[in-house]
């Protein structure tokens, strides 16, 4: 709350948002392993990874992850793919393509969880927020 209301941070956020995100999430990470919910950008607060994957990865990969601007990333499309390699793609993106790096938004643990979740197909069975 304190952080969110500080005028300085608001100004900073406007100009240096990604940097700030890192600054905000990293200390929280080292404490808890994942960023404290209250310190996330509003778009992530109170939302499950599954919801973020369906809705926000879904903006490019389709709500059912069957592809759009980005390729099919359903479990069957990713079978035989290495979790570590998928996590690396999610963390760093694919430079020169539309796949952006999610390293600035999620912890490495969360990114691995997303990669595993994609391979398990569970995000498509769930419908939570």
């Amino acid at each position: 709350m304190l952080i969110r209301n500080s005028a300085f941070l608001r100004r900073l956020r406007r100009t240096a948002f990604p940097l700030l995100l890192i600054a905000v999430t990293v200390p929280a990470l080292s404490a808890a392993g994942t960023p404290a919910d209250a310190e996330r950008p509003a778009a992530l607060r109170g939302r499950s990874l599954g919801s973020i994957v369906r809705e926000d990865c879904g903006a490019c990969h389709g709500l059912r992850l069957t592809g759009g601007l980005g390729p099919d990333i359903t479990a069957s499309a990713l079978s035989g793919r290495d979790v570590g390699a998928l996590a690396a793609t999610i963390e760093h993106g694919r430079p020169g393509t539309a796949m952006p790096p999610f390293g600035p938004l999620f912890s490495p643990a969360e990114i691995r969880a997303i990669a595993r979740g994609l391979k398990s197909g569970r995000y498509l069975q769930e419908n939570d927020r």
Binding site: F17, A42, A59, A98
Partner: protein, 400 residues
């Protein structure tokens, strides 16, 4: 009598304010006839459903189910504003009867698609497909197939098609993402289109728009800092790149959501458009298409929408800054208000005369209605995971 009974049964299966019964019989329970000019559809992207709403009542009249995967879904309207054509992500094209509140035709026409358009004469509906890449065209009345336009390039691969719009002269204009081409399919001669192919327009066109008078088609380029412009009065002149190298040398931020060009605000001499990978709205002079100014904003803009009076433009932002909307004063070209209507602001729609702005708040399961003048909230409708909001006044606008 049986005819009346059937009409009445139909009426009650649909919704009460129904025209059919009024047309077919004059019994005492006949609901009042009504027009469709004040209606709209709101896409419930996760549930394969659309809400039918009355804009003046700010109320949902019906929910129409069974439309499939509606991520990135959009809609166009028949000229009489009675029917909507909804383009789903899963390649389905669905025709919805707004008066009866139900689906009247549906085709599974591709594996993956991204939008569509209706021809100026209202005869043809075209869908832009990712998989298999190309455009398919249907009879607007029956949804019977009329034409197929595979988007082949290079050694015969098929490109994904984006930025499909209708243009005057029964033409459809669209871009080929992988191929870097813009095609014009002219149906003025009948069901067999003549295709004009413009090559080398720039790398990765990701969306397109047509200016409101229908003269210029502009494709945004993801692969470079610039846009491709085609003068549809002179397609033989090909495409030229405008705003080439805007922001060159500056670092682009990661793009978590592609901007939409459809909502480009065009006001007087200026066009406002979202910059890719930057927290900026670009202001372009429409005479010579050069950059006039850049407006610093809260995040990466997705839609930049001006009302019909052109007084202000409302801007929403890409994930994860999508809880905020800013309003730009078109006189001063500055942000004059910042609102936080809710989480996951996906779409902005002005009412037909522009006195209200409707915002879909995906992660709050609501649609908020704002006063366009005062920027005060007026109403909030519960709608599960809403995305696109489409009012029927689009039926009369080129490119929408």
């Amino acid at each position: 009598m049986t005819r009346y009974a059937r009409a009445a049964a139909m009426a009650f299966r649909a919704w009460p304010l129904l025209l059919a019964a009024a047309l077919l019989g004059g019994c005492a329970t006949t609901p009042a006839p009504r027009g469709t000019g004040d209606l709209g559809l709101i896409v419930q992207r996760a549930d394969g459903r659309v809400s039918l709403v009355d804009a003046s009542e700010r109320a949902e009249l019906a929910e129409i189910d069974g439309l499939g995967d509606l991520s990135h879904a959009s809609a166009v309207f028949s000229r009489d504003e009675r029917f909507a054509y909804v383009f789903g992500r899963d390649g389905a094209l669905t025709k919805v009867d707004l008066l009866r509140g139900r689906i009247v035709a549906r085709v599974q026409q591709a594996g993956n698609s991204i939008g569509g358009a209706i021809s100026g004469d209202g005869r043809l509906v075209a869908v832009s497909n990712y998989e298999p890449g190309g455009v398919r065209v249907f009879d607007a009345r029956t949804l019977e197939p009329v034409a197929r336009i595979p988007a082949r390039y290079g050694d015969g691969e098929r490109a994904r098609v984006v930025g499909l719009v209708d243009a005057p002269g029964e033409r459809f204009v669209f871009s080929l993402y992988e191929a870097g081409e813009i095609w014009i399919a002219d149906f003025s001669g009948g069901d067999e289109p003549s295709i004009t192919r413009i090559r080398g327009v720039g790398r990765k066109p990701y969306d397109g728009l047509i200016t409101p008078e229908g003269r210029y088609y502009i494709a945004g380029l993801f692969g470079e800092d610039g846009l491709a412009l085609v003068d549809l009065w002179h397609p033989e002149r090909g495409a030229r790149e405008i705003l080439a190298g805007y922001g060159r040398g500056e670092k682009r931020l990661p793009v978590y959501k592609m901007p939409h060009l459809e909502g480009w605000a065009m006001v007087d001499d200026y066009a406002l458009l979202p910059a890719v990978g930057r927290h900026e709205v670009l202001v372009v002079d429409r005479d010579d298409w050069h950059e006039v100014a850049r407006i610093p904003v809260h995040g990466q803009p997705v839609f930049v929408m001006a009302g019909p009076d052109g007084r202000e433009a409302w801007v929403n932002f890409a994930f994860p800054r999508n809880d905020t909307v800013q309003v730009i004063d078109m006189d001063t070209l500055k942000v004059d208000d910042t609102l936080t209507p809710g989480r996951g602001v996906l779409h902005i729609a002005f009412s037909a005369r522009g006195e209200e702005v409707w915002l879909s708040l995906r992660d709050d399961d609501a649609v908020a209605v704002y006063d366009a003048d005062t920027h005060e909230p007026l109403a909030r409708l519960p709608v599960p995971r809403p995305s696109g909001i489409f009012f029927t006044d689009r039926a009369d606008r080129i490119g929408l």
